[in-house]
Symmetry: C2
């Protein structure tokens, strides 16, 4: 059955039936708006849009995969502020011939990813559109913590990373060359594994700046460098290239360092910490903050790509 056959209210009813409230959901889907607990008295909020052909392909990812990834991209933004996600709102624009089952899988993926952090899908909207588009807004609670902005890095700070990096970009390259294996890389692209807890932990430990790596490590570190008016240097010997990644890189004729330094989509977290701070669990050092502005790799300029521009 297509979503046009189900009708707008049929689609909504079928999707909502698959959702469960979370611990902070005071009013879930079905009214003019949702109500979510905000015990901190401040709400952290972020929106991401995913467009078919740009951010996902239905022949590469199932509905549940896209749901996991759409949720992860947003929940990582909340974690990167030092907050704990509480809720997702989802706008779905879809061709009328979209299979209802695909939309249901999408909802399942969104809900399952949100549930990993105790959040829930609390509301949304749907419309027909020639272009399959998913707009996700995530809300989160700071739990009394000071938010970690991009602008607080200080010369001398240690740059640290939490989570996998380069795996999703490797999976993307694999898929874009027409392959479906190695499965671990392809799955890393389809469903990023985000270190959500590392965000609030970094805030508690005293991180001075933080960002989620969505567009590419060097590009996203560049945002910290610009906002903090500092320079950042990444040490390539900090990155372990797994055998699987190295083998795939060799087979595809790619420098695996490019996946690590310029690949997006893993939604790792990168943060800066004062040198005296003991890094919390899950964080490992990958570089240093300097006074000289700009982004360098092993103290040298990087001539390769740094990340994505979604309009080029």
């Amino acid at each position: 059955m297509s979503i046009a056959e189900a009708g707008e209210f049929g689609l909504i009813a079928r999707v909502v039936a698959r959702l469960e409230n979370g611990p902070t959901t005071l009013l879930g889907p079905g009214d003019d708006a949702a109500i979510v607990a905000a015990p901190d008295g401040r709400i952290v909020a972020s929106t991401d849009v995913l467009v078919e052909g740009r951010h996902f392909r239905r022949d590469w990812s199932g509905g549940a995969d896209v749901g996991h990834r759409a949720a992860a991209a947003n929940l990582a933004d909340i974690a990167a502020m030092g907050a704990v996600p509480t809720a997702l709102l989802v706008g779905l624009c879809a061709p009328t011939d979209l299979e209802l089952a695909w939309a249901e899988d999408l909802a399942d993926g969104l809900a399952a990813e949100a549930a990993l952090v105790g959040a829930a899908v609390v509301g949304g909207d749907t419309s027909a559109s020639p272009t399959l588009t998913i707009a996700v807004t995530a809300l989160g609670d700071l739990g009394g913590r000071k938010p970690v902005l991009r602008s607080g890095a200080q010369p001398g700070d240690v740059i640290a990373l939490a989570g996998r990096i380069g795996y999703a970009a490797a999976g993307y390259t694999v898929l874009s060359r027409g392959f479906r294996t190695p499965k671990a890389l392809v799955e890393a692209y389809r469903r990023p594994v985000v270190p959500y807890e590392a965000g609030p932990a970094a805030a508690t430990a005293g991180a001075t700046a933080m960002i989620d790596v969505s567009d590419g490590l060097l590009q996203d570190l560049g945002h910290i460098a610009t906002a903090s008016i500092v320079g950042v240097d990444v040490h390539t010997d900090a990155f372990e290239v797994s055998d699987q990644m190295r083998d795939a890189a060799t087979a595809l004729g790619v420098d695996p360092l490019q996946w690590i330094l310029a690949g997006g989509d893993d939604h790792a977290l990168v943060a800066t910490f004062p040198p005296e701070v003991a890094l919390p669990d899950g964080w490992r050092p990958i570089g240093r903050v300097h006074e000289t502005r700009g982004v360098t790799v092993d103290r040298k300029p990087w001539s390769g790509p740094v990340g994505w521009d979604h309009f080029r």
Copy 2:
């Protein structure tokens, strides 16, 4: 200049430069997420998507008009819960040849409509897309009020309306027949005039159920009837058909009552109040809640259209 020429970060910089923080904006655009004050400890949140060709046409509405309407549709949902809007987040998916000036006008319209209620655009995301799509999420604060759901209407309650109704639908018909006047009707479609303050006022006065009329009065009242397990009867003699609307209806061969009862887009608020409650300023009675389920007009079934289905 097109948005592709500006680039993703150029577009974002140009748009963000036009935005101002509101009184509840703790951190505006530019980081991984925004931070908004939520003094009530509960956040009200709603998402709407607008797709070109379905919800707006660029030959009918300018960028600022679309911004006003996109914001109004969401802010009205917040008001319909009895809350005061605090923030908007905006996802913009646009063809790469979209004029940067159109996107700037859109941002101006969104910001100006939000400013009417003391809210601000605090964040967003952009992507290229073949289909111009705007996803707006609105946040709001209940200020200690009990939220007004769709499910609380009781037999004997008075149905009351706040705001204009039928004007936007009349403007839509005018535009769809290729006309550009009467200007008052066309402008009502382009920029709805929403009675935002009437929402919290109704909550304070003791409204038992409330909804914003986005799809059509009878259809939206039907949502209250279903959720409250009651019947609603609308009294047509409660509606004044302005001379302008009557003249346009005659010229176009339309029953103006159809615009009033089944037209969406005005974002009026409709609520139910216990009969002993004095209606707050801006509210006028238009019907009664009954035990017999369903939606009737002057105690008779309505055979005309009731509203929109966004997939048909």
